[in-house]
Symmetry: D2
Subunit: 284 residues, 4 copies
């Protein structure tokens, strides 16, 4: 079954839900999921609607144009996706491989929908053998303080050539420049190994240890130019106690990081995320 | 603001969402929340839609009739509620008062919406002073094995007279007869102090202790004739370890029971629960 | 059964555990609990040992002196408690009463061991009727920016007269001065309604809402002069989503705050907490 | 650093802790961890003590004999382990590989201490390529209803030859016979994909779906002859809702199963588990 997914946001007005569901219905679409959210404080309306394309009366290439007039009426921001359009993924990694491993296992098990993992990029050479084992192309692109700009140029060219639509920083320990980030708005997902906004920056587990917290967390977010400040997609926490060393926190945190990153990537691929005001709406 | 809430279930068909949202819109309703769910295995459609009655073109007394024709087209089961219609509540309790205390605190703080707590019924006299302190009517109705039927007759009469719409068993340690249960279908909420279906029946914490589980739970559910078998509304769990005595489990469990029961009662009052196939859909 | 509890910390050395357990044993004490912890990074040893006083060969008044020689050998910091010595508690509150309510319910149910709640102090008059209902003395001590110092003098005098050993800030929305804090080192427990160190200071739920976090938390800690920076005793978290308004966070957070504060108070009363390096060891 | 670990259980008596810690101390051992637990209901004492062997005055081969006289005095059950003694592990698997994958990743990352994974056994051939990739010996031993006994003979022989000390059923979907189970008491760890004692036996996720629970769980336990009834080592749970299909539960549960099994295996290898009365004490 091919499914169409429409994501919408606009100022809240009477009749939006009715207009959209009616538009789908009158063209023969069977609605599979429809969810809406209103930010009452800001007066913004959000909607995600998913329907079966079987029997839909519009050709795919005409849909955007036809829907445009509907959208203009409510001054909508909107995106239209189809479940058979694959998102090409590049995974960035440095020296910790648990997130990479986890995503690749899930990818190979069919748990990452509608995507192709095309590329693994690392500033270290060690992941090459893993990539080879999985049959994924691997690029070792060293990044030095003085060569970051040229390294990013090589990365950007590699991403462009392969039509990458989603970059996953699966514990990639380099700060991306504004140029890079702006090239992939809401298309770069990072995993930060703390419960943001606590413990921004380097060595968050050591920070957590020194602070003596009783719970640690992990956070996946879209990358923006301000470090660790992008819209939060998912978080999770786990209880610890005074007996945990920094290394114990690192070990325990692996599990958190893996599942928090996995969920964020999956929801992105399922087109369940809408960003606004540096926050996210996650339709479920 | 007065809100209307419509709960719908029927066989899944094309066009239901569009028909319902369009019906609300064309009568001038501003949709505040709309959520749907499809049980794909059973082919059943569920919907909850909530709108502002301000400017709605139908009078309240006419709405049910007008919507009926819409509903018949899809052979819907449906219910219509208004946010200014209060549900009258009776709280049943035996000898543990933490759930009673918690619900009353929340009620007095305004956290239990659209309801009036009219009555506390207990098979023991001890809660009388609490009831008095809160200004709630109290009935001490002893229940003996041989007098259960006549005790229930007294209870049922008291509920009927006060037009009670929701009975909350806030740790009431008597098994209700089929006659009683059938009189209030999907209107009796119980809190069971275990993670059902584990540890059905009496002394679940002692059962959990003997089994050596590492996590305990609590479950709120609608009461049906089969003991502890009704549709589950909410559950929660907490980690324990071998150091916990049965008494420690009882203490720790209080917290679980309170919040699990509170959520169930609240969702019921907000008309967020639909039952089918001995399960619940909880709209959020 | 009367129990003695000995809390010890010192530089880690060979033979401490043996020396302490042997000391208890040779005076006829039956050890009920013994736990130790070593901070390997800092080389510090911590111990909590609890034994039955029945048949113990030393009189209570002699124990401190006799143990001193043992303690000097290892240069221990140590404290000795007895289970029949009550801690006098004062509860401070402003305008949110859920923590106060919860602690009082637990106190009256016998869940707060070895203590007497003697006093409720508030900068607002509203809690007077609650205090009266529970039969607890109530002092309304208004605090204005310009009168804080004199208000604290009144508070301190009231605490001193009643031999208060533990001050619980059960949502008390005034910042204590250094003078006050220094008078009760490791004897003031606060509940902060966020997952510290995130969202320090005022309106943490509003801060959490604006940040778009997917989980909220609560933190209980000993009060030191730096705001919300004292040693963390306990934390807990709960999952939220984009549908939660600030008010929803406040409601949901109540539950967190109550149980996080309760645990901290209970552990303090059970002499299970040792502070060092602005962190806590919690023996269990 | 080589560490000795002593696990003890016996009837609770005065002086045990002192005797054991003193025994370690007088032979020159520096105690790194010491924890005890008393089951007050049954009057049983449990202890785990771990010390640095550097400078210990007894040779390893003499320790057992020397400690025996101490142990006899209290009629202890006891076991002595050394941190440089490797446990040989065999992993059993059928057709779901997430637990296998996870354990192997952790093993290769150094997170499974004091062990060697020597063997993967499966009743299906598919895992052969994974085993090859990791460089672990693989045995495909088909199990049919009529050939189970002879299949187990082959398995038992393979385990014996390789001196396997721990068998991990990493989603192995065959019920072991009493003969097999009795050959490895407290040496077989299973992962069951439900919150036991709920949903014993086959297809627990389908059972959970049909029951409409709001939380699912996973349980690791030692295997005894009664199916899914052995002492529980670890459990964990995760929240679900009515939108989850059985397949969603299976996906979500993977994460639970992996970490619950990992913790059990790790604690076993660290000699942190003591069994009694079909329950476990987990020292931490």
């Amino acid at each position: 079954m091919i499914r169409a997914i429409l994501l919408i946001s606009c100022l809240d007005q009477k009749g939006i839900t009715a207009a959209v569901t009616d538009w789908v219905f009158k063209h023969g679409g069977n609605i599979l999921h429809a969810a809406q959210h209103i930010d009452e404080k800001m007066g913004i309306f959000f909607m995600r609607i998913e329907w079966d394309m079987h029997g839909f009366s519009l050709e795919r290439q005409d849909m955007r144009q036809v829907f445009s007039s509907e959208a203009e009426r409510f001054q909508m921001n909107w995106s239209l996706y189809f479940s058979d359009e694959m998102t090409n993924i590049a995974l960035f990694v440095s020296k910790h491989y648990h997130c990479l491993y986890d995503l690749m296992f899930r990818y190979q098990s069919g748990q990452l929908p509608h995507c192709k993992v095309l590329l693994i990029i690392s500033n270290h050479p060690e992941a090459a053998s893993l990539a080879k084992q999985w049959g994924i192309e691997f690029l070792h692109i060293p990044v030095m303080a003085e060569s970051k700009s040229s390294a990013e140029d090589i990365q950007l060219e590699a991403l462009k050539v392969r039509k990458i639509g989603l970059i996953v920083l699966a514990r990639y320990h380099q700060i991306l420049t504004g140029k890079f980030v702006r090239a992939y708005p809401e298309q770069i997902i990072n995993i930060h190994h703390s419960f943001l906004p606590a413990f921004i920056g380097g060595s968050p587990y050591a920070q957590a240890y020194d602070k003596g917290v009783k719970i640690i967390g992990a956070t996946s977010h879209y990358v923006i130019e301000a470090l660790d400040q992008g819209p939060i997609i998912e978080q999770d926490t786990v209880r610890i106690d005074h007996r945990y060393s920094v290394q114990d926190l690192i070990d325990e945190g692996q599990d958190l990081e893996r599942r928090v990153l996995y969920r964020a990537v999956r929801w992105h691929l399922e087109h369940k995320i809408l960003c606004y005001s540096n926050k996210t709406v996650i339709f479920d």
